[in-house]
Subunit: 420 residues, 2 copies
């Protein structure tokens, strides 16, 4: 029996794998109700419904050039080296409707983006034309033949009517906003953002505004979680820090679960005397999803469900709190917004330097990505202890070091979770 196993059995905890823990959580992180937001507020939101094209795009034959709309066959006579002269019968600026049908021998002056008139099947670039007037009537001259279709964007070139545009669960980015705008979707159906209650436990915690006191630290996890929740699309509700008192924690948890869609706590889950969140969850075991995960840091991460709502009790160690958030809280928050993909992307990358640390649990190592000559490298951050906070800011990925490795040499291929 290892020390780890002895400790687990002494404190009645049974470790489950990260993937299993995620499955248990996501069962209670179904998409919430949808709502409609103005297009300009839809960035970063998740679509509640799929979008199909209500009309072709473009909806008319569009000129790709400033120039002249012509009948392409008319220009074939240029082959003999002579200019062909066409009578200019219309002038079509952008946004206008052509007034004349183009027939053989005629042309229309047309602007980039304007609607190509009926009858015309090519647009001559302005720069390859010359003009003259004959009896007050303008003519355009062309010296080279143009193939049919040239410089005309056909109807539905980008999207046909009814074609799939965006899927439900897709997160809206700037390019999507352009498409939604083009189709007139000014009110966008998205899934509501979850309200996430956040509090910390620990008698050692000072508020960020308080001066330092002996033996105490400022509560850095709560502001970090607030930022992470917002980054994940949730609406953080800050409930402060409470001392290590189980009755206080119990009523705080209860009130938070009644008022918010999800509750995240930090601290009070380690194996020790004042681990009130652990006790709180253990004593009402029916609702517990897990209280130990086979991972470092954050093996004590605990999750429970009450009245259908998730309570995620993350470690109070900053590094473990951060990793626990990315592995469990973020997927829940994103999933509650109806995201089609709740998990962070995982890449196979090249380990940039030796990683000697071994463990019987999967380790999530804070690291920084670099790309050199087509290869992606991940460099483990300086100090990689669960209690260490300073390396969180220097990380843009988490290297996943499998258990029972003998340490990984630089150059090994490893999996890495890419942070947002």
């Amino acid at each position: 029996m290892t020390i780890q196993e002895a400790s687990d059995s002494k404190f009645g905890r049974k470790a489950i794998q990260v993937g299993e823990a995620q499955v248990r959580i996501l069962k209670y992180a179904a998409a919430m109700e949808s709502e409609t937001v103005p297009l300009e507020q839809s960035m970063g939101r998740y679509l509640a419904e799929s979008v199909t094209a209500p009309h072709p795009f473009p909806a008319f034959r569009r000129s790709g050039m400033d120039g002249y709309a012509v009948v392409a066959a008319d220009t074939e006579n240029c082959r003999e080296g002579e200019s062909v002269w066409l009578k200019v019968v219309d002038n079509i600026p952008c946004g206008a409707v052509p007034s004349e049908r183009i027939v053989s021998g005629t042309a229309a002056r047309i602007m980039t983006g304007a609607q190509v008139p009926e009858g015309a099947d090519a647009v001559l670039m302005l720069e390859v034309t010359e003009t003259r007037e004959l009896d007050g009537i303008p003519y355009v001259g062309v010296r080279k033949p143009i193939p049919g279709g040239r410089n005309i964007t056909p109807i539905g070139h980008e999207l046909k009517q009814g074609e799939h545009v965006l899927a439900a669960g897709h997160q809206i980015a700037a390019g999507d906003i352009a498409v939604l705008a083009a189709f007139g979707v000014h009110a966008v159906p998205v899934v509501r953002r979850p309200k996430v209650g956040i509090f910390a436990t620990g008698s050692e915690l000072l508020d960020v505004k308080e001066p330092l006191q002996p033996g105490k630290i400022r509560n850095s996890n709560s502001p970090m979680l607030e930022a992470l929740v917002r980054e994940a699309g949730g609406v953080p509700v800050m409930l402060g820090a409470i001392a290590d008192e189980i009755e206080l924690a119990r009523s705080k948890v209860q009130a938070a679960l009644e008022n918010y869609d999800l509750v995240i706590t930090t601290g009070g889950v380690s194996v020790g005397d004042y681990d009130i969140m652990g006790d709180l969850v253990r004593e009402e075991a029916g609702d517990m999803l897990f209280n130990k995960v086979a991972m470092r840091p954050g093996s004590v991460t605990t999750a429970a469900v009450r009245g259908g709502k998730l309570l995620l009790a993350l470690s109070g160690n900053p590094g473990a709190c951060f990793v626990g958030f990315q592995l469990f809280a973020r997927p829940a928050i994103v999933s509650m917004q109806g995201a089609s993909e709740p998990f962070l992307p995982e890449w196979t990358v090249v380990l940039g330097k030796d990683y000697p640390k071994v463990n019987n649990y999967t380790r999530f190592v804070r690291a920084r990505l670099e790309v050199h000559d087509g290869s992606v490298y991940a460099f483990p951050a300086g100090i990689d202890e669960s209690s260490v906070m300073v390396t969180i800011k220097d990380s843009d990925c988490l290297i996943i070091v499998p258990p029972e490795e003998r340490g990984l040499p630089a150059g090994s291929k490893v999996r890495a979770m890419i942070l947002p």
Copy 2:
């Protein structure tokens, strides 16, 4: 003389390289004044001042375990296979100040994160200890020696007092917020966000809410730019769309430059009859920075400066508008916020499929990144015409195809700008 050169000379435009255009713009995109924001609103902002550690972190010797603080030398006698028994003289929860100095033969019960008492130089893990009482006095028994320093995080382990923490110009992320909180920085000095006036020109433009009309399109560039400006940290101010009338454009530009820190327009810069932004800039040439860039799409991108403020006139073609924003507007907006690095990251990546298109200008090709087995591939998006909007949403990078290439085969190493 190529058609391109003929056109440039006919319309009095001289193309400059992208890098030169960026240099000209950034000259007028200096960091604006700083302001102070509450820590919880600082995410994504750029630090106006560097931050050094006002105190060491941790500020006291911190226990890394639940267990007992001891004098390590006392445990050396365990070597003979016998337990050593130490008198427990204190109980130190997190946040408390030790009341006793630990001397040989004594120990203090201590919690993870609590302050290690004077005299103790190691912490025994709870799980490797046993306890008993003798005449009502508690004792802790230990069977294995522990080296000095074990399970104690020294003062300043993460950061020493006065050590550099974050540089001016750094963009604040969740991990930075944790560090700022730990050091009590509840009011964060950041650079003000620029107010960015945005309008579109084009008589063909309908508002997003309007029903489609023949020959017209909905204005998709303005909402896209609004989202992009916000993503870059600017405050977008939407000024609508105006018809192709130079007087209207002139007064709009003038008012916008008076009221906002930067003005971005879209449309009206192509070589044609209604290119009012181009005309507007050309006619007051002293202020023009450039009106042609050796790039595709968006070669007509135009920039001017008026009263020290930048006017960026992007192409009305959606693809060109997007690329122009990322190359010129985003660096300006980010630089005005004091960012230490105004440009998007560039990686050398592997071209995922053939790219046959050749051009005498540098081409910025919308593409999607994929990572396979440690290598980064970029796959050009479907239709890559400047007028095409739909592939913007499918892109997370822009491949930089140098001019005068003979087309690039799959597997080539190419440079790519990584989109936010």
